[in-house]
Symmetry: C2
Subunit: 402 residues, 2 copies
Amino acid sequence: MSYIPLTPDLLRHWLSQHNALSQILGGTPPTWRIREVSNGNLNLVFLVDGLTGKLCCKQSLPHVRVAPEWPMPLERALYEARYMQTIAPYVQGLTPQLFYYDSDMFLLVMENLTPHEVLRSALIGDRAPEGFSSIIGRYVAQSVHGTSWISQPFEKGSQLLTEFSGNTALTRITVDLILTDPYRPCDRNPKPLPELEADIHFLQNDPAIHVSVNKLQHRFLTQKQSLLHGDLHTGSIMLHHSDVRVIDGEFALMGPIGFDCGLYLANLFIHALAVPHKAHFIQAEISAFWHSFASHLRELLKQSSRGDAWSLSLPSIDRQKLWDEFLHSILQDMAGFFGLELIRRTIGFAQVADYTLCPTPKAELVARKQAVLTGHTLIKQAKHLHTFDAFLNLLAPCFKAL
Amino acid sequence: MSYIPLTPDLLRHWLSQHNALSQILGGTPPTWRIREVSNGNLNLVFLVDGLTGKLCCKQSLPHVRVAPEWPMPLERALYEARYMQTIAPYVQGLTPQLFYYDSDMFLLVMENLTPHEVLRSALIGDRAPEGFSSIIGRYVAQSVHGTSWISQPFEKGSQLLTEFSGNTALTRITVDLILTDPYRPCDRNPKPLPELEADIHFLQNDPAIHVSVNKLQHRFLTQKQSLLHGDLHTGSIMLHHSDVRVIDGEFALMGPIGFDCGLYLANLFIHALAVPHKAHFIQAEISAFWHSFASHLRELLKQSSRGDAWSLSLPSIDRQKLWDEFLHSILQDMAGFFGLELIRRTIGFAQVADYTLCPTPKAELVARKQAVLTGHTLIKQAKHLHTFDAFLNLLAPCFKAL
């Protein structure tokens, strides 16, 4: 079947032609309940319920779903499928299972996560149980370790570069929206609140910020440390009680590990800015993420012995120091990309719904100003951070004010 | 024509089937003089003289030429062709012109450089005119700048990753022979001079060296800054008076810029160790390389405006500082890889002919000990270097002793 955007009826037909999938659903095709639930920006998503099982079907559209004039290559589904297949062995239980990928239809058929909800919605609705960030910390540690040059022969890392370097359409979004646009006048930037105009003018004219952002651009593009999710925010995670799953890996690319960490934490932090009474809860989640990430990564590095990076392993060498320095550089990257994401989600394209929780326009303005100010500080200070506590200290003025 | 290792007669026939090449040669095929001059480790090379022109034909063999039991994928010719095609626009006049690449025969047909000779031979024969290293400095600056993320949209860099990440067979040689084997007992390491055994034992059991080499392994594999030559030693350069050309790009890969710099300078330095009366000459070449490289790179960076890295360019930002830090990190990488190459060429597989110039076994031992000692120091000190003079100072004890 050559590419055609699916409707429920077309999907019903397509599924009926795939025995293994039909068997998961059970019953006959007419009995399957198919609902379109496309609420992201880019894709068609259908949930399918059968007599004995259920599926989630996600298909690329040739344009941005909510902006049909913005073309978008279909191949992003391929990169999402590759990402899921690549990391599956390392993060068991933390992603939906991928049952099938149709490369003609650019269609992924995967586990239907019900009654899970998107973490961002759970946070907004005050339904997120504490501790979910420990699981995300483990997810990032396992996925980036498994795909690093430390855990496997360099030929495998080279293969990942070959497989993922073509994902330029979605990386272009990151390069433009996160790494560039907010720091210069640009038509894509939405019109800001008038009270933020001075802060934005300062940001766009601060030479020190420009130098730091330039360096983060270079790090993002040159540091091919591991396979990243590439878009790890609270909208890319689903949960139900303690069952936490990372979804939407279509931005996957080889890059600096701190990028996944920074994006995730910045999205959490914005939630705290928008909902000040949850500041302690969010601060605890931020700490839980880092401590889980760092301890899992150390544990995995301790067991690594197959990589061409760090292949020398005299019993007497100070591996602790090697791990410390590695985590230190990840921390600095994390802080820098955290700052970029804070600013992008506050004044750039594709802002976040969390700000709608602010009870008054004044409260929203305060929250957004804190985000811009903290982002500004983080971007400049990232390279001077030596501990996670120092990172937290840079957030502390906000947490105390909340 | 499907792959078959060429003989002069087969090559004559193949050339006669390619009009554009036949026309360069002129005359009729029987009048062409074809000589096999394969003196590298890996390939067949033929020089062809015709009535009006001449060609050089280089073909991959399915094994190491001098070790038929060591298989080697034919595709390395493809990577060499890609490298030549990619960097040609940036380094005009500094490589042989590539006329044709036959992807079935794994055959490159290029400019026949005569009466050029290999730089290593020219050095050994005392025929290298001073100043050639300035040209190599320019070559490295131009090739790495043109293929960086600073000079072009990131999609171009991603394309280079896609095109070159598959060159794993030759990168495996680098990973093993330069980055790993010398630091542990390994069958590939040749039996050393008995008087060097203690030095090698120390090297293979120094935890600080192991930590530093581990980090250099990680940098080599993760820092995809630019397209590198990957094997830039004095045997990969041909010259005739002031006409200097870089050849043999089959090790090409995306990597840290300092790698090309370090390999080149280490090979020069070994020549000075082997021929002490040329120490000043070589020291001047080492300085000429760096100053030419750094000044050309700064000049090119000054003109860069199309890259997604460093894309923010407020007139007031301190670009000088950005360039300084970039060159500083290249210098540190250069020093580390210089140390690795010194050691590899002295105690590892594929040592260099320069040592045969030592007039006595004792002189050779002194030279080799100095190489191991200097390599040892450089590997450990590389990350603490802040200026080129500090780098030269680490070489100075040898230059003074010479």
